[in-house]
């Protein structure tokens, strides 16, 4: 069987979700945030793919899996420009942009070493604050602001 190079990189998906334009360095974090590790569906991951817009990008294709918006929006923390393509019958039936969630629960760790969430089994909870171009997470418990980059 022969394939051209394009087909080798991106095989077609019959039904499922394609997450495109993820910063290449954040692909593994995206897998964690979407909790894909225990999933039995076929998952194709591309890292360092060429992108005219971003230089290098990542892509994640998950067969037979459709997410709720609030699950997907958590990705906006690490991939604010990612696009979501919903595939049915080999066709893109819907394209979505991510929305920054106002509350983030259970996925980030507080950067304050004296925060209760780093010492006791407490589920973390943050509100997102836009500060210029940067997004800060405000801890519901210790009330400290953390930079998103340090949180995952």
């Amino acid at each position: 069987m022969t394939h051209n190079s394009k087909e080798l990189i991106v095989s077609a998906l019959e039904n499922g979700t394609v997450l495109d334009h993820i910063p290449a360095e954040n692909v593994y974090k995206a897998l964690d945030i979407l909790d894909l590790k225990g999933l039995e569906s076929q998952i194709t991951i591309g890292i360092n793919l060429n992108s005219k817009l971003y230089g290098k990008k990542g892509i994640i294709k998950i067969a037979d899996k459709f997410f709720r918006d609030e699950e997907l929006n958590k990705l906006a923390l690490i991939a604010p420009d990612a696009t979501v393509n919903i595939i049915r019958g080999f066709k893109v039936v819907e394209k979505k942009k991510l929305q920054m969630p106002s509350v983030v629960e259970g996925i980030a760790k507080c950067m304050n070493p004296k925060c209760i969430t780093n010492h006791q089994p407490v589920r973390t909870r943050f509100t997102t604050i836009k500060c210029g171009n940067e997004i800060l997470l405000h801890c519901h418990y210790c009330e400290k602001n953390s930079d998103i980059r340090g949180l995952f």
Binding site: C110, N112, K114, C115, I116, T117, H119, Q120, P121, V122, C131, C139, H140, Y141, C142, E143, K144, N145
Partner: protein, 304 residues
């Protein structure tokens, strides 16, 4: 006002109306210091780290209101030392009492406790985070000395970086159109998030490192201690520990209504000769803590 199991964890949990209400109730308790309105109630004072002033003040407040106190002032002899989680301790104590007053070294611990407790929780200090009863007694002291809280010029001096009292007071005063002076060395300046908060609220502030610069035009001089326990780097502490020292001779031209506040304990930042001037208010400020804590407890339990 809605009393349905309300806790006081951060000063921002109270609206402007609630703050003013609690201060009015405190006035009532200052006039009549023993009012046994909580007879039959039991209140837990659980202190996971040492504190003398705050604990004694809260326990006195509970006693003056006629309730009984249970609790501990040191977690070493409790099941916490056996590895019990904060959640389990709070659940257990909740079963016995009508209110929990707690201090804990970890930041956010009181907020978490209020979420697992079945009774109101009062935060008596969670690490370097919040200490709202201190903030309310500061507001009470400002109101009692100035007659009102509006349009005052407040000069905060000392450790504005780690000092939680200045941060909470700044947030609470934001309801009352103040103007702030921040007097601090470069190493201990007011953190940028609080300056952003003021900027967004349209509240003017000015920063200086000179104690003399704004002594004569402020209404409240809020002095703070440089707290050794908040520093991770001992060299940094040594550099700034004696940076300001207020003496009586510096107070020649201050406004007649000016009062000096300090959350205490003081070390060297206010000379003892200031104590005898009409501007010193810090000992009375500490006494005010009792009336304000009585008011907080009575309000949260729905008795005022």
């Amino acid at each position: 006002m809605d009393h349905n199991h309300k806790s006081l964890i951060s000063i921002q949990d109270f609206t402007k109306d609630e703050i003013l209400h609690v201060l009015e109730v405190a006035k009532e308790f200052e006039k009549d210091r023993v009012q046994k309105i909580l007879e039959g109630k039991v209140i837990a004072c659980i202190f996971f780290e040492p504190s003398t002033r705050t604990r004694l003040s809260f326990e006195t407040a509970v006693n003056r209101l006629g309730a009984k106190v249970i609790g501990f002032s040191d977690a070493t002899n409790t099941s916490v030392s056996k590895g019990e989680t904060l959640k389990d301790t709070i659940k257990m104590v909740s079963n016995y009492v009508d209110m929990i007053i707690m201090r804990h070294p970890l930041e956010g611990s009181s907020r978490y406790a209020s979420e697992v407790a079945s009774v109101p929780v009062v935060n008596a200090g969670d690490g370097a985070n919040q200490h709202p009863s201190q903030t309310l007694l500061d507001l009470y002291s400002i109101m009692q000395t100035q007659g009102h809280l509006d349009h005052l010029k407040i000069n905060m001096v000392g450790d504005l970086k780690y000092g939680r009292t200045t941060h909470s007071l700044l947030q609470a005063m934001s309801h009352f159109s103040p103007e702030f002076i921040f007097t601090a060395p470069d190493e201990l300046k007011m953190p940028v998030e609080y300056k952003d908060f003021l900027g967004n609220s349209g509240i003017p502030y000015h920063e200086t490192s000179s104690l003399e610069e704004h002594l004569d035009d402020c209404d409240i001089l809020y002095m703070t201690r440089v707290q050794q326990e908040r520093f991770t780097d001992p060299m940094e502490y040594e550099k700034v520990k004696d940076v300001y020292r207020l003496t009586a001779s510096m107070l020649q031209n201050v406004k007649p209504n000016m009062k000096i506040l300090h959350p205490l304990p003081r070390v060297s930042e206010i000379d003892q000769d200031v104590d005898e001037t009409p501007y010193a208010y810090y000992f009375k400020q500490a006494e005010n803590g009792l009336y304000v804590r009585m008011a907080i407890i009575a309000y949260l339990l729905g008795y005022r």
